[in-house]
Each structure stands twice: as structure tokens, then as C-alpha cells.
């Protein structure tokens, strides 16, 4: 069934299998909470995968490596189980919020689907699990929203974010490589459209798809500081007052690392980094318990207050 046919049958309370990923349960709880609430406002219930495990964050690129795909495939088996247990109704499309989880799960899925021998080896290794049959599809949350139709998003907006100038930050994992990309890798528009539907003034910058430095943040912070500085200042020069992202690692590198950016570039003006779902929650005028601003490093409340978007 194609994605569009799926959504023709959309009714309120449609249940989708949902993979959170480790970080969304800790430092990015605000991402999950704002997303689940916004999804509910759009008639989608995101049902968490039972007994999920860490997907591994990065897709293993070695041709002979199988063990590092086990984690992903185990999660895909859980989607099968969810359907059998009736937690979702014949829905094998696994939705993720985290861009990195999306990339890893989707690529591992493709890897085993394209290679029957590897699929068998992985299934044999996990002999305590049922076999993965290869019917699960991995999608990113904003793909789901696009399929739903940004018109529906627009209709759900109660508080248009009109005065807010936001630059979408795509990062790498939802755009590259081509076989997993949710949009044109060189000229993506999906987040632009989402932000437009929320009413923001969308700011474009060519740096919106340049890598934030990813895992280099652990050992080579300076690399991340340089990249984040470039990304943020280019957005600011183009007029952005905030950025929106869908990846907790990008959020950490662009938000939390502003501390180190200021130390190296004292003239730098801090800028709030939102998860796109936080903007959705504000625009849908949901209860402020779903905003989670206390987990944002650069406090977005002053900016929102200045735009009359701060809920009291």
C-alpha cells in the first residue's frame, strides 16, 4: 500500500509504531513530549515500540559487518510483534523522531532486505527472536506529516507563529545518502513547508544542510564549535532569530555548544534552537507542559515573549 493510500484511510486516533531512541528519554525529552502531543492534535497516536533497544546511532559502513545491524533489525522485529499483539492495526511503518535513528534503522532495513543471505544470518544469530520478514518500512516523523498534508497542519494552528523568523536546519541524516533521503538532498524543502504551515517566516541558508560535526563533539569539540558557529552565523546573517531541527545531536551541537562558541567568538549572539515539534506545540497552542523549554540550553522564552508567543 503506498503512503498516500495509507493516509486516505486516516481517521482520528490512527496508531503508528514509534521508535524513540535513547536520547529522547533523557536530554531530549522535550522533543518527544512536544512531538507526541502535536501528533495527537493531528489525530495520530504514536505508540512506543515495546522492548526497543538502542539502534546504534550510526549505520555501520563496512561491507562484511553484520553484528552492528542486529540492533536495528531487532527493533524491526518488535514492529512485527506489535502488530501481532494488536498494539497497532496492520501498520508496519515505523516512525522515528530522531534523524540519526531514522538513518540507521532505514539503512539497516535496506541492507537486510537487499541481501537475503545477510538477512538469514542475522535472523539465525537472533534465534531467540522471531525471524524478521522484511516488511517494515522506516519513516521520519516529518515524512508522516507531509503524507498527512501540510494543509492539515495549517488547519490545526491556533496561534500562527507569524512574527517568528526561523531557519530550518536539516543536518545530514534525513537527506543523505540518496536511498534514505526524505527530500532532494541538495535542495530540500520539507522543513520549509512545515514551518510555513506553522506560520513562521522561513529563512533559508545554504548551511542548513552542512554537518554540525556529529560525534566529533565528544573528543574534538573545536571542530563542532567551528561548524556550529558557521551554521548559526550564516542563518543569523540571513535574518534568522531561531533554528529548528529534528535531531538531538544537532540540537546539542547547535544549542549546548553555544557556550563554547561564545568563549571562542565573544561577539557571537546566542540564538535559541527549537525542535520543530516544539514549534508545532506552540502553534497548536497546546498546554505548556509539552514545550519542555527547561531542556533547551539557550532559553527561547525571551524571544517568544518578544513575539507575543509566550504562554503565561
Amino acid at each position: 500500500m503506498s503512503a498516500h493510500e495509507d493516509f486516505k484511510l486516516l481517521t482520528d486516533g490512527m496508531k503508528v509504531p514509534y521508535f524513540p531512541g535513547c536520547t529522547l528519554k533523557t536530554t531530549a525529552r522535550n522533543f518527544e513530549e512536544s512531538a507526541l502531543a502535536s501528533a495527537r492534535a493531528l489525530g495520530i497516536e504514536m505508540v512506543e515500540l515495546p522492548r526497543w533497544n538502542c539502534c546504534g546511532t550510526v549505520f555501520s559502513l563496512s561491507a562484511d559487518d553484520l553484528i552492528h545491524h542486529v540492533a536495528s533489525v531487532r527493533n524491526l522485529i518488535r514492529v512485527q510483534e506489535m502488530n501481532k499483539q494488536g498494539l497497532v492495526n496492520e501498520n508496519h511503518r515505523l516512525v522515528t523522531l530522531c534523524s540519526m535513528c531514522f538513518n540507521t534503522l532505514k539503512r539497516s532495513n535496506l541492507r537486510v532486505k537487499e541481501n537475503a543471505e545477510d538477512m538469514k544470518k542475522i535472523n539465525d544469530l537472533m534465534y531467540r527472536e522471531e525471524d524478521y520478514q522484511g516488511h517494515v518500512e522506516v519513516v521520519h516523523f516529518i515524512e508522516l506529516i507531509r503524507d498527512l498534508g501540510f494543509g492539515k497542519v495549517k488547519r490545526a494552528v491556533k496561534k500562527s507563529l507569524t512574527e517568528l523568523k526561523v531557519a530550518p536546519y536539516y543536518g545530514c541524516m534525513i537527506l543523505r545518502p540518496k536511498e534514505v533521503s526524505i527530500d532532494d538532498p541538495e535542495a530540500p524543502t520539507i522543513m520549509h513547508e512545515m514551518l510555513q504551515a506553522l506560520g513562521t517566516e522561513v529563512i533559508s541558508t545554504p548551511y542548513n544542510k552542512v554537518c554540525c560535526g556529529s560525534y566529533q563533539t565528544v573528543q574534538e569539540k573545536s571542530t563542532v564549535v567551528e561548524l556550529a558557529h558557521e551554521i548559526l552565523t550564516h542563518a543569523q546573517k540571513a535574518g534568522a532569530e531561531a533554528m529548528a531541527t529534528t535531531c538531538p545531536l544537532c540540537a546539542f551541537n547547535l544549542d549546548n555548544r553555544q557556550k563554547e562558541i561564545v568563549e571562542k567568538y565573544p561577539g557571537f549572539k546566542k540564538m535559541p534552537i527549537f525542535y520543530i515539534t516544539q514549534l508545532m506545540a506552540i502553534a497548536f497552542d497546546l498546554d505548556k507542559k509539552f514545550y519542555g523549554f527547561e531542556q533547551n540550553f539557550v532559553d527561547p522564552k525571551p524571544l517568544l515573549k518578544a513575539k507575543n508567543l509566550l504562554k503565561q
Binding site: 535513547c22 528519554k25 533523557t26 522492548r51 533497544n53 538502542c54 553484528i67 540492533a71 537472533m126
Partner: protein
């Protein structure tokens, strides 16, 4: 079945039999052969691995403890005849089978992190702080397969990774710290240390003070048990003995 050709071992077995099986070797109907560190021994069937090894003449000074499956000392790694799967279990809880290849793992080398619970935040990052190798978990499930207590070890390591203290404490509760999981882990995680830190943090911060304990302490401080305790303390040896033998063992 391969017969052992060691008269010495036979004599040691003879000498040990009363300590292990308490029956005469001529009364043993079924014999099996087990291989201890590569060497074959003829032992009576239906013994545990622990008693079978003792029958064969091994005297345990390490790798033995409660003999009841509780202390985690007698961790054994073995393979069964004709089966490629590497298995692990407690020697005192596993039946010795014909053709079993076995070895003891009396100790798993592992450094336990030094921490002060009173100074730690109740935060998921504490587990990663002391055991960053948890981030190397590839969800291969080898630890779960190695666990003699049938715990879902991978699940509790994953719970540690995402900071779910309650699941971590619940799923690691019956861990006997035998170390078999850590020995086999390809990511070199020491699961039982992580579990222990998690349970300690959960007990201290997540569970809250046990109300019944607080109540009892209050009762004691209010002198509720003073009279009964004073009576016992003031008894002579003779009176104490009388009271002890006459105590109520089970209410009628």
C-alpha cells in the same frame, strides 16, 4: 564412550565417593564421561557438575560457595556433546551430562567504579559517567544467553543506557554477580556492576523511604519494645535456654 585409563583417578574417585554420593561404586548403574579442562573422567550419572567434578577428584578451594544456586561462585562454561553452542551456568545447578566439556570461571576481572552515592544526582548520565562502555552495547544479546539466572541482561543494560532506573533495578534484581555476562560481552561491558550502581541509585532516590521501616524505627524509639528486650537481657543462661526451647515455632 571413552573409558578413563587412570588408576590414580579411580582411586581418588573411590576415596571421594563417600563425600559426594555416599554410595558404593558397584551400586552405580549408569556412568558418564565428562571432560574437565580437556581431560576425560568417568563419573556416575545424575550428579550436578559440581559433585561430578568432586567425584572425579577435584577439591574446590575457589569457584564454590553456597551450592544452592545463589552465591554465583561456581560459574561454569561448557559445551554439550555434538552441540556447537557455548553455554554457561552454575555448576551446582546443572546436571552433568555425558560428553560434556567444561571449565570453571572462578573470577571475572572487572574494575568497579568508585562513587559516593550521597554526592550523585539521580540522573541517567551518572551511569554513563562511571561506566561509559555501556554506550558500546550493540544489543547482541550474548549476555542474556550467558546468564544462569535467566535474566534479560541486554534489556537491563539498554535500560541503563536510556536512564530507566526502575526497569534496570527490576530486571537486574536477581543477579548473583557470577560474571559470565561480562566474560562474553564483545563490548567489554561489566553488566553486573552497572546493575548494582543502578539499583543503589534507584533504592536511594527512586523508591523513597520504606514507610514500614520508618514506622518501626519510630516504635523502637518510643520504647515499644523496651520491656520485652529488657526481659530477655536480664535472663540468666538457664532461663534463656528454657525460654528458647519453649519458644513458639509455628502458631497452631
Amino acid at each position: 564412550m571413552e573409558e578413563t585409563k587412570s588408576p590414580i583417578m579411580d582411586r581418588i574417585a573411590e576415596a571421594n565417593k563417600s563425600a559426594t554420593t555416599g554410595i558404593d561404586s558397584k551400586d552405580i548403574k549408569e556412568w558418564i564421561t565428562i571432560y574437565i579442562m580437556g581431560r576425560g573422567y568417568k563419573v556416575p550419572a545424575d550428579l550436578t557438575v559440581l559433585t561430578a567434578m568432586e567425584y572425579a577428584g577435584y577439591k574446590f578451594v575457589r569457584s564454590v560457595g553456597c551450592r544452592q544456586g545463589f552465591c554465583g561462585a561456581c560459574a561454569t562454561v561448557f559445551r554439550k556433546k555434538g552441540d556447537y553452542k557455548l553455554q554457561a551456568d552454575m555448576a551446582c545447578q546443572t546436571r552433568a551430562e555425558d560428553g560434556m566439556y567444561l571449565v570453571q570461571i572462578p573470577f571475572t576481572p572487572a574494575e568497579k567504579a568508585s562513587y559516593d552515592l550521597t554526592k550523585e544526582d539521580y540522573s541517567p548520565s551518572v551511569l554513563i559517567k562511571y561506566y561509559p562502555e555501556v554506550a558500546r552495547c550493540v544489543s547482541c544479546n550474548t549476555c542474556t544467553k550467558a546468564c544462569p539466572q535467566d535474566l534479560e541482561v541486554m534489556d537491563y543494560v539498554q535500560a541503563a543506557l536510556r536512564g530507566d532506573f526502575e526497569a534496570l533495578a527490576r530486571d537486574s534484581f536477581d543477579c548473583i554477580q557470577c560474571g559470565l555476562c561480562a566474560m562474553r560481552c564483545p563490548a567489554e561491558i561489566v553488566q553486573y556492576h552497572v546493575g548494582q550502581l543502578g539499583r543503589r541509585l534507584y533504592g536511594r532516590n527512586g523508591l523513597g523511604a520504606p514507610k514500614h521501616l520508618e514506622k518501626r524505627v519510630e516504635e523502637i524509639q518510643n520504647g515499644q519494645f523496651k520491656k520485652a528486650l529488657d526481659t530477655v537481657i536480664s535472663c540468666s543462661d538457664e532461663e534463656l535456654r528454657k525460654k528458647y526451647t519453649a519458644r513458639e515455632i509455628e502458631p497452631e
